[in-house]
C-alpha cells in the first residue's frame, strides 16, 4: 500500500476523465489519494482489532507477569493452560450448553413464526391485512425497557406452571425454566417484516401453477415458497442467532437465582466477583475469548448474511 501504484491509477483516471473516455471500472476516486484512504482504513481497523487482541494477550498472562513491577504487558511465559482452566474452574460446559440450546430454539421458532406471518401478509388478500401490517411495523417501536417488568410478572403468574394454581398463585410460574428464556422472543416483528419483503418477490405464476394442480395452501408455502426465500431465512437466522447468543439483560433477570439456566454472557457477568483478584483476570479474559469464538466462526462462514441483515434493517 505505498503511494506509487495509486499515483498511476489516479493519472490514468484523470486521463480518462479529461478525454471523456469511460473507465472500465472505477475502484478509486482519484481525488482521495489512495494512500490517505488506506491509512485511514488501517488506523480504524487497528482500533477495531486491538481491544480483542488485548483480551487474547491478557488471557495468557501468568501471576509472574501480573505481579511484576511494573506489570508486564506481554507475558514472559504464555500460559496456554488457561483455556483448560476455564473449563475446569468455571461451569463453562453448562453455560455453552444453555447458550446453544436457548439460542437455537429461539432462532428456529422465530424462523417459523416470521415465515408464516410474512407469507400471509405478502400473498393473501384478507380483511384487516393493512392493520396487521401496521401492527408489525408499529410493534417494533416498543422498547425493551418498557416490557421487561410486565413480562417478568406475567411469567411469574402463569397459570398452572411451576406450582401455580389456575389463578397463577402459589408457585414460581415459568420463572426458572427454559420457557422463560425463549417464549418472550418467539415472535420478531422485524423478522415478519423481512420475510414479507422477500415473499412479495416470488412470481405469482409459480404459485398459480401449484394451485391448479390442487396443492393446499400449506403445501404451496412449505414446498414452493420457503425454498425460494432461503437467503432471507439465512439472513434472519444469522441475525437472530447472534442477537440471542449475546443477549444478556433478560436472561440475567430470569436466571440470577437459577445458575443452571445461565448462558455464557450471563454466567461470566454474574461471576464478576470471582474475577476480582488480579491473577484471576486472565481466567476471565480466557472465558470471554471462548464465549466470542462460536459467533466468530459463524461470522467467518456466513459474512454475507450478517451484512444483508444490517442492510435490510437500514433500507426499510
Amino acid at each position: 500500500m505505498t503511494a506509487a501504484p495509486d499515483l498511476g491509477l489516479s493519472v490514468a483516471a484523470d486521463a480518462r476523465a479529461a478525454t471523456g473516455a469511460p473507465g472500465p471500472r472505477r475502484r478509486t476516486g482519484p481525488k482521495v489519494g489512495a494512500a490517505v484512504k488506506y491509512v485511514l482504513l488501517t488506523l480504524g481497523a487497528l482500533l477495531m482489532v486491538l481491544p480483542f487482541a488485548d483480551m487474547f494477550v491478557g488471557a495468557l498472562r501468568g501471576p509472574a507477569d501480573v505481579f511484576a513491577t511494573p506489570p508486564r504487558y506481554f507475558p514472559a511465559d504464555p500460559q496456554w493452560g488457561v483455556y483448560g482452566r476455564v473449563f475446569d474452574e468455571l461451569p463453562m460446559g453448562r453455560w455453552i450448553l444453555n447458550s446453544v440450546l436457548v439460542t437455537t430454539t429461539i432462532t428456529l421458532v422465530q424462523l417459523v413464526t416470521s415465515a408464516m406471518a410474512g407469507w400471509a401478509l405478502a400473498r393473501y388478500e384478507f380483511p384487516g391485512r393493512a392493520n396487521v401490517f401496521r401492527l408489525v411495523v408499529g410493534a417494533q417501536m416498543f422498547p425493551f425497557f418498557l416490557l421487561i417488568i410486565p413480562i417478568f410478572f406475567l411469567l411469574r403468574y402463569a397459570p398452572l406452571a411451576g406450582g401455580n394454581d389456575l389463578m397463577g398463585q402459589g408457585g414460581s410460574g415459568l420463572l426458572g425454566t427454559y420457557a422463560a428464556l425463549v417464549l418472550p422472543f418467539a415472535v420478531t416483528w422485524y423478522g415478519v417484516f423481512l420475510m414479507r419483503q422477500f415473499f412479495t418477490t416470488i412470481p405469482e405464476e409459480l404459485l398459480e401453477a401449484a394451485r391448479l394442480d390442487g396443492a393446499s395452501e400449506w403445501l404451496i408455502f412449505r414446498r414452493i415458497a420457503l425454498p425460494l426465500v432461503k437467503p432471507a431465512l439465512a439472513t434472519l437466522a444469522v441475525f437472530a442467532f447472534v442477537y440471542h447468543w449475546n443477549e444478556f439483560i433478560w436472561t440475567m433477570t430470569i436466571t440470577r437465582t437459577a445458575p443452571e439456566l445461565q448462558t455464557l454472557p450471563v454466567g461470566i457477568f454474574l461471576l464478576e466477583n470471582t474475577f476480582n483478584d488480579l491473577d484471576q483476570k486472565s481466567l476471565q479474559q480466557a472465558a470471554l475469548a471462548v464465549s466470542v469464538l462460536p459467533v466468530l466462526i459463524l461470522f467467518a462462514l456466513a459474512q454475507r448474511f450478517f451484512v444483508s441483515a444490517s442492510v435490510e434493517t437500514g433500507v426499510k
Partner: protein
C-alpha cells in the same frame, strides 16, 4: 407497498398463517403493555399486592426525584453524542470504504464488535482502559502523554462509554451507508471529476444529499436505541462513578429489580417512552423538512 393487492383470498389460510404472530403478540406485547400501564398507577413491592395510588408515581418522579432528572440528562448526553459523533464518523468511513479495494476484509474487521456480547465488550474495554497498565494508557504513555482515568473520573467515564458505543456501532452504520452509496450513479462522480470537484465536494454535494434517507434513518434509529439502551453501561460501569453514567433505563431497571419498586419503575418507563416517541416524531419532521 403495504396496501397494494398482491395476493388472492385463500379462505381461512391467511389467519392460520398469522395465528402464531397473533398469539405471541397478544401475550408478550399487548398484555404486558396493558399491565405496565396499570402498574404505573400503583405502588407495588411484589411481595405484597399492588395498591392503586393514581398519578402519585408520575408526580414523584417528575417533581421530587432529582436522580430521575439527572439520569434523563445523562441519557440525552449519551444518545446525543452517539448521533453527533457516530453518524458522521460512519458516513465518512463508508465513503472511504466504498472507494477502497478488499471490501469484504475491511467490512469483516469493522463488523467484529457487532457479533460480540455487551458483557464481553464491557470487560474487554475495562481491561483496555484500566488504570496505568491498561493498553490505552500504555500506548498514550509511549507517545509521552500522561493518560486518563478513563472509568474512574465522572466526566471521562461518560466519554469512555460513548467512545465504546460508537466503536460498537460504527461497522453496522458503515455497512448501511455504503449499501446506499453503492446505489449512487457513478456518472455523477465522473461529471463532478470533470469539473474538478475534490473528494470532499463530491462527498458533501453528491453522496450525502442523495443518500439522505439512509442518513435520516440511521440518525433517528441511533437516537431512539441510544435513549433506551443500558446493557453496556450496566456491565461496564454499573452507572458509576457516582451516577455519572447512570442513564434512565438503567435507573429504572435497578429501581425494579433491586429496590422492587415495580409501580414507580413502570411509571418511569412510560415517561421515558413518551419522551422518545415525541422526539422521534420531531426528528423525522425536522430532518425531512430541511430537504424541502
Amino acid at each position: 407497498m403495504a396496501g397494494r393487492a398482491l395476493g388472492r383470498p385463500g379462505g381461512n389460510a391467511p389467519y392460520w398463517f398469522l395465528a402464531p404472530l397473533f398469539a405471541f403478540t397478544g401475550l408478550f406485547l399487548v398484555l404486558p403493555l396493558g399491565f405496565s400501564v396499570y402498574l404505573a398507577f400503583t405502588r407495588w413491592n411484589p411481595l405484597g399486592e399492588p395498591r392503586w395510588v393514581g398519578t402519585r408515581q408520575f408526580e414523584y418522579l417528575l417533581t421530587r426525584d432529582d436522580t430521575f432528572w439527572a439520569t434523563l440528562s445523562n441519557t440525552f448526553v449519551f444518545a446525543g453524542a452517539l448521533v453527533v459523533i457516530g453518524v458522521p464518523l460512519a458516513l465518512g468511513l463508508a465513503f472511504v470504504f466504498s472507494r477502497a479495494r478488499g471490501k469484504a476484509a475491511w467490512r469483516a474487521i469493522y463488523y467484529l464488535p457487532q457479533i460480540t456480547s455487551f458483557v464481553a465488550i464491557a470487560y474487554i474495554w475495562q481491561f483496555v482502559l484500566d488504570d496505568r497498565y491498561g493498553l490505552a494508557n500504555r500506548l498514550l504513555g509511549l507517545l509521552g502523554f500522561r493518560g486518563f482515568d478513563w472509568l474512574t473520573d465522572p466526566t471521562m467515564a461518560m466519554v469512555s462509554i460513548v467512545m465504546v458505543m460508537v466503536w460498537y456501532d460504527v461497522g453496522k452504520n458503515m455497512v448501511v451507508f455504503s449499501a446506499a452509496i453503492e446505489n449512487v450513479s457513478k456518472d455523477l462522480y465522473e461529471a463532478a471529476e470533470l469539473d474538478g470537484a475534490s473528494a470532499w465536494i463530491q462527498f458533501s454535494r453528491i453522496t450525502v444529499p442523495i443518500i439522505r434517507p439512509a442518513v435520516v434513518f440511521v440518525t433517528v434509529t441511533s437516537f431512539i436505541s441510544g435513549m433506551g439502551f443500558f446493557a453496556l453501561i450496566l456491565a461496564m460501569t454499573g452507572g458509576g462513578p457516582r451516577g455519572a453514567t447512570e442513564v434512565t433505563a438503567l435507573y429504572l431497571y435497578e429501581m425494579a429489580f433491586q429496590d422492587l419498586r415495580m409501580g414507580r419503575a413502570s411509571a418511569g418507563a412510560l415517561i421515558l417512552f413518551a419522551i422518545i416517541a415525541v422526539l422521534t416524531v420531531l426528528q423525522f419532521r425536522l430532518l425531512r423538512e430541511r430537504k424541502a
